[in-house]
Amino acid sequence: MKQPRFLALAALVLSFVVLLAACGSEGGDTDTDDQPAAGGTSGSEEPEGPDCAVDSLALYQEGQLTIATDKPAYEPWFKGNDPTNGKGFESAVAYAVAEEMGFTRDQVEWVVEPFNKSYAPGPKNYDFDINQISITPKREEAVDFSEGYYDVNQALITLEDSDIADASSVTELKDAKLGAQVGTTSFAYIQQYIEPSDQPFTYDNTNDAKSALRAGQIDGIVVDLPTAFFITAVEIPGSKVAGQFTTQGAAPEQFGLLFESGNPLVECVDQAITTLKDDGTLAQIQDEWLSQAVDAPVIE
């Protein structure tokens, strides 16, 4: 008499699990709304290009532009750890892009996305991420990038009395103990182009790297040039920007806005960025927030 009850239970469990599996996980892809242009709101100049009128954009959340960045939001890219104030290079760029696309300031919503998660493949819960993310071919396989909005150079920070504080070539760094944030192009640069004899240290975030430099556990940190200037000017007394590294490879490293793979919004954002470049807004923002990041000696 126990047999039929067991079979009934097994059948129930089986059907329940198969039901779960069949439902699967929702993809979370943004819906593409293919409506014809609703009469250009900001006077778009390309009649045959993608439709970039604000009302017909494919957004993560309707009616708002959802932008992601990390927490803490480091200077000089943001100010006061608050992306909403429009201060700091990346905050200013984000709001400029939003305005160019036809959004008002209140339509911009910020969410938090840790740096290391941002360029991993998979659905995103934002429209784009702005967080000093360099465009690399590997990352482009997993996510989509906009046009670059800033040309990056890697730089070296050391303490003023360090042996490598006056290094002028990469060979002088071979015996140095270097550090970088894990998963960054800075770390990849060390591995590929500096190739120190002692394996570099990696840190979960720039704060830990700074602690290590202060503690003398590493001789230098490799990080992008503007961040390097901020760290040496404000955060670590007695440190200096030893120099900036040359660009390796054909094209300069660039920061780009990061999108979920296949997001149709990229084209409209690219249009906005191109316009900002052409009319000088981007250069102006750069002058305002990143002006010191130009004069550092070059380390060959």
Binding site: K2, F6, A10, V13, L14, V17, V18, L20, A21, A22, G24, S25, G27, N116, Y119, A120, P121, K138, R139, E141, A142, G179, V182, G183, F187, A188, Q191, Q192, Q199, P200, F201, T202, Y203, D204, D208, S211, A212, R214, A215, G216, Q217, I218
Partner: protein, 273 residues
């Protein structure tokens, strides 16, 4: 007999059905092909294991974990024993020592290991004590592991010591052994043998916790796996690192079983088959 056979049949069938259903749920899931590629790609595992021009080798980074836990374990076993013995020493004169031992175990079992590592890894260099502050992050990390784990292992030893029956001590004392001699020759050998499984448990746990030292900078296996993962977007490196840890754990666990069985056989003295 009939009932037995039916019981075996029912339990086997239900186990098989359970795993088939679980497997079906996993393989029928919409993302299963991507997961197979992203987590179980042999090519990626091989690449991660030996390293590439932008990522360190998981295998050689694993060697750092091994060195760390071998060194740490030696210190832990000794320090924890000292603390456990101090804790159970009687007499009012030794009260301050006992108090220190109690505070030590409470404190280091209370504070999360990660915090201990951070505080020691970045705080001690900040103190700028010559000879101590300029130790490498690996040394500071191992020191943090030793301090933290000794608190747990001391309690394990204490449980072993207290499990040795009172009559053993009484017998030893009546034979003329001093308190220290009865501890050393009668109680401790029995106590330690009894707690070998939990000691091994803590040792295995220690092997995994060496991964936390990566926050101080050194690249160990799990960090090397993470570097590969964020460079290539393939997380098979994590599976490879996990396999390395498992490969270490299984022989150790079987060795402990062997030790325990051998000890049990000795104590029975061949009385039971």
């Amino acid at each position: 007999m009939l009932g037995d056979r039916r019981a075996v049949l029912v339990s086997s069938v239900s186990t098989i059905v359970f795993f088939v259903v679980l497997g079906a749920a996993i393989f029928l899931a919409p993302g299963s092909r991507e997961v197979a590629h992203d987590f179980f790609s042999f090519e990626a595992m091989r690449e991660a294991l030996v390293g590439t021009n932008t990522t360190p080798s998981v295998l050689s980074s694993f060697w750092l974990n091994v060195r760390m836990f071998l060194v740490a374990e030696v210190f832990i076993l000794v320090l924890a024993l000292v603390i456990a013995v101090i804790r159970q020493m009687p007499g009012p004169a030794l009260f301050p020592l006992r108090l220190v031992a109690v505070i030590y175990t409470d404190f280091f079992r209370g504070v999360p290991l990660l915090l201990v590592i951070y505080i020691m890894g970045f705080g001690i260099p900040g103190l700028a004590i010559p000879g101590i502050s300029d130790r490498s992050p690996v040394v500071l990390g191992v020191a943090a592991l030793v301090l933290s784990y000794s608190a747990y292992v001391a309690e394990v030893y204490r449980a072993g010591i207290e499990s040795v029956h009172e009559s053993q001590v009484i017998g030893a004392r009546s034979l003329g052994l001093s308190r220290w001699q009865s501890m050393r020759f009668v109680v401790l050998p029995q106590a330690v043998r009894r707690v070998i499984p939990p000691l091994l448990n803590d040792f295995i746990s220690l092997q995994k916790d060496t991964a936390l030292v990566a926050v101080l900078g050194p690249i160990e296996a799990a960090r090397a796996a993470a570097i590969y993962g964020s460079d290539r977007f393939n997380y098979s490196s994590f599976v490879v690192a996990a396999l390395l840890f498992i490969l270490l754990t299984i022989p150790l666990a079987r060795f402990t079983d062997h030790l325990v069985a051998r000890d049990r056989k000795r104590r029975r003295g061949g009385a039971m088959a």
